[in-house]
Symmetry: C2
Subunit: 249 residues, 2 copies
DNA sequence: ATCTCTGCGATTGTCTACAATCTACAGACG
DNA sequence: CGTCTGTAGATTGTAGACAATCGCAGAGAT
């Protein structure tokens, strides 16, 4: 951590430097401490490393990350407005606790946003879009055969992200990102019962067929069912082991 | 998003203090400078006082408001994640510029969120909800008769806010607030052509009737049309006088 | 004339110290 | 014994100074 600032020259892409520049030099990132802190904390929350209820003390973070409180505070403000943490003035900051209602809301919102997106994508009738989605699902099925749960999850996210992006609706995309973030957090927090990975992947196929046929109502119906069943499973698991989820500190 | 902290006194409900407490003392506000700055700037942006493209210099704001840069920076981070401003590192912060596409997206998103809400509200079948909405519309019609454009606008906002709140979906509410905020900004920026205020108010009545009858598809259809026509009008006006909207600085 | 480099002013990014506020607990007071 | 009061410790809120970076103008080289 505490990646020190990179020299300016590395980021410079003005013409005289690009002249015959050999490619594939790894892009040097010069993110502000605020951004690094933000990314680090957000990732920790989304992966469940920082559990709901966990207390975030600015001074502790400051020491752990080896930076001052100012950029940390700015990062916390952002996380706060993203709804991942809560701050009580002069008292403390904690990772937002989740209720079963929160989870139901997250999935119902996913459903709403995605069905809107799928309608837009179908109307656009862009064959490349459908092909791209098919490719992702195929990879997903293969990863499912290999029982590679991590890859399946990533590809599943890719699929739904791609669907939203294809709608070409930037406001939708930004709201989606908020919701998808929360969904990711929830998924990381529940101990999912083993399910047939291949089956999860295959579940996407009927949706693709409906999209191929341009059948909007059917596609929306399939998508809704797909998300609802995923949401129900997660909500059940949540109920089951919700006792272990709040962290005292 | 934009969940404001309640002042300490509001949160204190311990028994010994509530015992025979005389009411009606004006609540003492102790908002942090960050919150005050946030509210001030956000309001200025939403009312069009700060126009798209206007440059926000931390040092200037600091002098104008008579506070240090730290709380201002935190407020700016929040406005940034709300999508109202944009910051280029080491260069400057400006009020986000709006394109016609932005406006179309704002209204299509409003449409999506509100039709979801109206479905939930109809399903809940709560007569008080419908009565509350009717009351608002009645006031709106009266304000329309008086040609009181400001009151009509406020009541129109109240109506749609109420609709969302009644859905009881807190995540929906938070996304709605983001979108409604942007819509408010857009409305403040266009010089709306005079329209019949009474007519605007009356336009809400068919929707209420459909809700009364529990006719979900019809209600959604009416709502969609209502919002779409509003959006089209605004988009037209935008096109017309978009030249005057960007502020140089 | 054109290109390159260097220094300058403006602006944001970060650090440190100090102030304000909250909670909890101990002790005074009836 | 219960109620109020005040103090201590922890935590967030704010201030002011300094560092880093960017864009640009202008000097100098070709």
């Amino acid at each position: 951590m505490v990646v020190r600032q990179a020299p300016a020259a590395d980021r410079d892409t003005s013409a005289h430097l690009n002249w015959r520049m050999k490619p594939n030099l790894p892009q040097i990132k010069n993110l502000s401490i605020r951004e690094q802190t933000l990314d680090t904390l957000r990732e920790a929350i989304l992966t469940g490393e920082l559990k709901p209820g966990h207390s975030l003390i600015e001074m502790d973070l400051s020491r752990q990350l080896g930076v001052s409180r100012a950029p940390i505070r700015e990062a916390l403000r952002i996380l706060n407005s993203e709804g991942l943490i809560e701050t009580i003035p002069y008292h403390g900051t904690t990772v937002r606790r989740l209720t079963r209602t929160d989870i139901e809301e997250i999935y119902s919102m996913r459903s709403l946003l995605e069905s809107f997106a799928v309608e837009q994508v179908i109307r656009a009738r862009n064959p490349e879009h459908l092909q791209r989605l098919r490719d992702i699902v195929e990879d997903m099925i293969m990863a499912g055969r290999d029982n590679n749960i991590n890859t399946v999850n990533i590809l599943d996210r890719d699929f739904h992200d791609a669907l939203i992006e294809m709608s070409g609706h930037s406001l939708l995309l930004s709201m989606w990102q908020t919701v998808a973030m929360k969904a990711r957090q929830v998924m990381a927090l529940v101990n999912r019962r083993n399910t047939d990975l291949t089956q999860i992947a295959r579940n996407h196929l009927p949706l693709l067929d409906a999209m191929d046929q341009g059948d909007i109502p059917k596609a929306i119906e399939l998508l809704r069912a797909h998300i609802a069943s995923a949401g129900d499973l997660v909500a059940e698991d949540w109920q089951r082991d919700s006792a272990a989820l709040d962290e005292e500190t």
